[in-house]
């Protein structure tokens, strides 16, 4: 039998241990499973305050089987830069130094830090698992919350802002590797991380990661919600990077069909499972559709 990617995945070590304290159905742990499978044991995770700093479990035990360094909320990308530079200075060249954090830590409070590390093209990975709010503190809106979603700081779902398109922003920083991914497509995620490992310089991977309690859907629906995000065109999978004056961007296979708007499922499919969109009104709907259109426009202008 030929070795398939599934065989490879099964063979790859599991660095996320069962018995962690994540919520049932948490998308983020699933994402981390594949990120770590791809990175392998030669990895230092740098984790800012987030659900991950909690679900790894409480001292003196931990649920991750790689070196895990818990750090202050806004510090991660800079701190990881320091770790990496020290390791290189000490002659340990190929350790994967990887930031693993949420949208709050890496897209809001830590945005300047991530941007600085990107601009300097530090040889690190930054993984954002995007659950579109501050979950660890109990579902407050972040810069990555879609307009109109209910959170505890936007209890009526009034529109505050624009979901900050962090992956586009990173791409424009001229770094060599940027990708989006989704927990609904673990193989795609795994392969992207593998490819990123071959890239020297700054690597940014933005992973769509639904959160059952935060988005208010049934635990079992995590994958379905994530898949619908892709199938409705709300979340787009791609990878790209900068090289020699050019931005390259390729749609990843799962998203290719949805370049054609008529192939996309109705956005309502994605919204319907989620309590956070209850009472979503026309204005919000338009904002969100516009946002989707905006993303596709951006991507189409590069592909």
């Amino acid at each position: 039998m030929v070795k398939t990617i599934l065989d490879e995945l099964i063979e790859a070590n599991e660095f996320l241990l069962p018995g962690n304290t994540a919520c049932p159905g948490c998308g983020s742990t699933l994402a981390l499973r594949y990120v770590l499978k791809a990175l392998g044991k030669n990895t230092v995770l740098v984790i800012p305050a987030s659900c991950s700093s909690v679900y790894q479990a409480i001292y003196p035990k931990v649920s991750f089987k790689v070196i895990t360094y818990n750090v202050a909320f806004a510090s991660a990308a800079a701190l990881a830069s320091g770790v990496k530079q020290a390791l290189v200075k000490k002659g340990y060249d190929n350790v994967n130094v990887a930031v693993w954090g949420g949208d709050g830590g890496l897209i809001d409070i830590g945005a300047a830090t991530v941007s600085g590390a990107a601009e300097r093209n530090e040889d690190i990975f930054v993984f954002v698992y995007d659950n579109e709010a501050y979950m660890n503190t109990g579902i407050q809106r972040s810069g990555s919350t879609p307009p109109g979603a209910r959170t505890t700081t936007t209890p009526l779902g009034k529109i505050v802002g624009f979901k900050k398109p962090m992956s586009f922003l990173m791409l424009l920083h001229g770094v060599p590797y940027v990708a989006t991914a989704s927990i609904a497509y673990p193989t795609d995620l795994y392969e992207k991380v593998k490819r990123a490992k071959d890239v020297k310089g700054f690597k940014f991977i933005h992973i769509f990661s639904p959160c059952p309690p935060g988005w208010r859907f049934d635990d079992s629906k995590t994958i379905e919600v994530a898949r619908l995000a892709v199938e409705t065109g709300y979340w787009i999978l791609w990878e790209g990077g900068y090289r020699d004056g050019k931005i390259n961007l390729t749609l990843s296979p799962p998203s290719r069909p949805y370049k054609d708007p008529s192939k996309r499922k109705p956005l309502e499919e994605f919204l319907k499972y989620q309590g956070r969109f209850r009472g979503f009104d026309e204005r919000s709907l338009k904002k969100l559709r516009d946002w989707i259109e905006y993303q596709w426009n951006f991507i189409n202008s590069f592909t």
């Binding site: 241990l17 018995g19 304290t21 049932p24 159905g25 409480i58 649920s63 991750f64």
Partner: protein
Amino acid sequence: MSEIPDNHLILPISKPTKGAGGKTGSWRVFRPVILEDKCIKCMMCWMYCPEAAIEAHSRNEVPKINYDYCKGCLVCKEVCPVSAIKSEREGE
């Protein structure tokens, strides 16, 4: 009460442990059960278990749920393409 310890370098260092958060299987409200005869060994349940609570060593075996840690989210049941996973209320 808080005393200054004799050791000046007590570090908050944790060791990787299965079940670091306890036997999280006890959190379950519903229990997923793989129906061996229906299972086509596609490994989708293994692939999508957010807990890494399904054990699979090769594609020739029916994957096994580790009930010590399965939290009962039922993601596995949802993703199974042939409905080979059923769910039962715990304690019933």
